[in-house]
């Protein structure tokens, strides 16, 4: 009696039933423990089959020259597009749609990976963990401002507002805004549905979104002077015939290192800056990088052979990759970050549960980890954290099945959870960690009373001597917060009494004039000068948030608490 249902189950697991069949089976499954048992079995078999078959789906060889030579040219008849004009529907032009900046000089730039981007964005995220004391006189022996990372405040220097609690619609700084080269977008092709979690990961039949696009001129790498520049690039005039020495993909487009026939002039050009010479009319595509999806991933891949001093079986991450005209070569780094090497595709293997060919889906919470004002809550218990635990997303990666998010709770604890285990909280206002005072009025008292050695601070976390550093810094109290300057980075950090923290890298304010505010301060108040004055005087929002200074700025030795956390690089103590 279960036979018809039983027959459907493997195809249900594979995701190849029609919607009506799936629905009917699901209704039956809800009442049939026998079929549920079969379902579990087929899921297990499915995973094993995918893993087994997937091991052979690697390292696609190029189409052999013999075969290419045997391809019979067919004269276009009814098809209007000429071969050179044809663009496949899933061609990766979209990836290159954004205007790519011209490159004027040789500067090998490593591929900025998703993880790196996340890391940098996260470092610029805001999280204040414990209270801080407004009294500058006690700055060496007082409470602690334990700041892990900071909100990018550079918006206020001409890049849109990131300050208004409710202003989430405002453009958040892009990687470009932050001076970071963007990675290839993980956005899938328009016809692909948004990622939804499936009990059984399914191999894709499409090129992964965000995959490295085909290099238009890959067939010319190492070839003769068969191409020419379309515009002046460095020393190469527009129209110069060139050969391609080597090439790589930088997350925006393919970049070619080209050499002029005199062999003395060379330049680094983007794909858009090259064209075929008049007597050249074909190209061979660069094959997809087999491990493209893992570029920038955490330390989850392993080496299959000894590579230099890196032994086989080492856990590594791929930091970048390039195609040398014959094969993909990946830059790898060991887990302890002490060794790096270049590896071939065959010398690496992904996690055992990786499904080759699987598309890295768009993250459901993509905007959340790009916008550190958003908070989420656990929808089911994770480790010891109960349902409802409020978290912020600090990093994310795709493990081959679902996106996994690195989360930080309101009290600074870290955990990882799958996409299915969190949901975004309604956007109301910027939630501040509970340990942050809502106002700075009056005198703050230490919240824990803990005494740290020897003349340090009261806080929940004393600086640990082995991880402690000391830098020169400056500090100035204001009516409604503080400004701090870090001597090591030059950044000005604005700590607002309501818990918001804004970061102004030195590069964002160094070009601004000295404090242009001409109003005289009220009695008992001061107008900030120097770097503080530049930020305060040129950024109206900061002025409004902080009010006038209470005292002049003063230098002090800032204690840093370095961490081994790849996301939270250091805390600092006021």
């Amino acid at each position: 009696m279960h036979k018809p249902w039983s027959d459907l189950i493997p195809f249900y697991v594979a995701g190849t039933l029609t919607p009506a069949e799936s629905l009917a089976l699901e209704r039956h499954l809800a009442t049939c423990p026998i079929c549920q048992g079969e379902l579990d079995e087929w899921r297990v078999v499915s995973k094993a089959v995918q893993a087994e078959a997937g091991q052979w789906a690697r390292g696609l060889p190029p189409i052999s020259s013999n075969i290419l030579a045997r391809l019979q040219p067919i004269q276009p008849a009814s098809v209007e597009e000429s071969p050179e004009q044809y663009t496949p529907p899933y061609h990766h032009e979209e990836t290159r749609k954004a205007p790519a900046p011209s490159i004027q000089k040789w500067q090998h730039r490593p591929i900025l990976t998703l993880a790196a981007a996340v890391l940098i964005i996260t470092i610029l995220g805001a999280l204040v963990l414990v209270t801080f004391n407004p009294s500058p006189q006690n700055s060496h022996q007082t409470e602690v401002a334990l700041v892990t990372s900071l909100t990018p405040g550079i918006d206020d220097l001409g890049m849109g507002s990131g300050l208004t609690p409710g202003g989430f619609g405002a453009p958040f700084p892009t990687q470009n805004d932050l001076g970071i080269l963007p990675v290839a977008s993980p956005t899938p092709p328009a016809n692909q549905q948004d990622f939804s979690i499936s009990p059984t990961p399914t191999p894709t039949l499409q090129p992964p979104p965000g995959a490295t696009p085909i290099a238009q001129f890959a067939g010319f790498i190492g070839g003769g002077y068969t191409l020419m520049t379309t515009e002046t690039v460095g020393n190469l005039a527009s129209g110069t015939r060139v050969r391609i020495s080597h090439a790589w993909y930088d997350g925006i487009s393919w970049i070619y290192f080209v050499v002029a026939p005199d062999e003395t002039h060379s330049a680094e050009v983007r794909e858009s800056q090259l064209t075929y010479a008049s007597d050249t009319n074909s190209a061979n595509p660069t094959p997809f990088a087999g491990w493209n999806a893992w570029i920038g991933s955490p330390y989850v891949m392993r080496t299959t052979t000894d590579i230099g001093t890196i032994p086989a079986g080492s856990l590594i991450r791929i930091t970048g990759g390039h195609y040398d005209g014959e094969q993909w070569i990946y830059s790898i780094t060991t887990e302890d970050q002490t060794q790096s090497a270049e590896a071939l595709e065959s010398q690496l293997k992904p996690p055992s549960d990786f499904i080759p060919g699987m598309v890295t889906p768009t993250t459901v919470f993509d905007s959340a980890f790009r916008n550190n004002n958003l908070w989420a809550a656990l929808t089911e218990p994770v480790n010891t954290f109960p349902v409802g635990t409020q978290v912020q997303i600090t990093y994310a990666y795709f493990d081959g099945f679902t996106w996994i998010y690195g989360l930080t709770t309101t009290d600074g604890q870290s955990l990882e959870a799958r996409e299915t285990q969190i949901s975004l909280l309604p956007i109301t206002s910027t939630p501040a960690p509970t340990s942050i005072p809502t106002t700075l009025a009056g005198t703050l008292t230490p919240t824990t009373g803990q005494t740290c050695m020897p003349t340090y601070y009261h806080s929940e976390n004393c600086p640990l001597p082995v991880q402690r550093g000391s830098i020169s810094a400056a500090f100035q109290p204001f009516e409604r917060g503080f400004m701090v300057w870090r001597g090591d980075t030059g950044a000005v950090i604005v700590l607002v009494g309501d818990g918001r923290v804004l970061n102004y890298p030195e590069s964002s304010y160094i070009g601004y004039p000295d404090n242009p505010v001409t109003d005289s301060p009220p009695v008992g108040r001061v107008k900030p000068i120097s770097g503080f004055g530049r930020v305060w005087g040129n950024v109206e929002t900061v002025r409004n948030l902080l009010g006038w200074g209470l005292e002049t700025e003063q230098g002090y030795s800032m204690t840093l608490q370095y961490t081994t956390d790849p996301v939270l690089t250091s805390y600092f103590y006021i």
Partner: protein
């Protein structure tokens, strides 16, 4: 041959590639190869078990796809068509090497001793035993499992590709699962 209730694959994103190939567009071939080359390669390994040979046959498949693009009538998905080409080429290659395929009786009724869930084993061994057992299956059974779970062909598509009835597809699937169970039982994994 069995009648197959196949939906018309009007939304097959690969069809424009085949049309372009038929018009002589080599870039379309490149794109098709990039999309499906690894799938075909993996499929060929089931029948050939020899990577260099599989890569060689893959080239033949691509050449055949190019030469016969104009003949493709859109009665199946392009991937199914490519896999069917690959299957023919692989079987020819196997015959050429005088390697016998494991004969199986598709109409054999399965006796299913329900002795223990596979799931239990997998949790304990993280697929190792099961993957080893997969490799001991006859080619036909590995093939059907792979077509279902890796290449994600539907029952009717598989029936069409292998020129068997849908009923045979289903019985072959169940037989494969039972064979896995038996192998694992014999090895003490269950």
């Amino acid at each position: 041959m069995a009648q197959h209730n196949l939906p018309i694959p009007s939304n097959d994103p690969d069809q424009p590639l085949i049309q372009a190939m038929a018009a002589g567009n080599m870039r379309a071939l490149d794109e098709l190869y990039a999309r499906h080359g690894l799938h075909i390669l993996s499929y060929l390994m089931i029948h050939l078990g020899d990577r260099p040979l599989a890569e060689e046959i893959l080239q033949d498949v691509i050449l055949a796809a190019w030469n016969h693009a104009a003949d493709f009538r859109g009665e199946s998905r392009v991937l199914t068509w490519l896999l069917a080409i690959a299957r023919n080429r692989a079987l020819n290659a196997v015959r050429g090497r005088k390697i016998m395929m494991t004969p199986l009786n598709d109409d054999f009724e399965i006796a299913s001793p329900d002795t223990g869930p596979l799931e239990k084993v997998v949790r304990l061994t993280e697929h190792a035993s099961l993957r080893a057992a997969l490799n001991r299956l006859p080619d036909q059974q590995r093939e059907i499992l792979t077509l279902v779970f890796f290449h994600q062909l539907s029952g009717p598509e598989i029936a069409q590709m292998l020129s068997i009835s849908e009923g045979t597809v289903k019985s072959r699937l169940h037989r494969a699962k039972e064979a896995l169970r038996r192998i694992m039982q014999s090895e003490g994994s269950l």
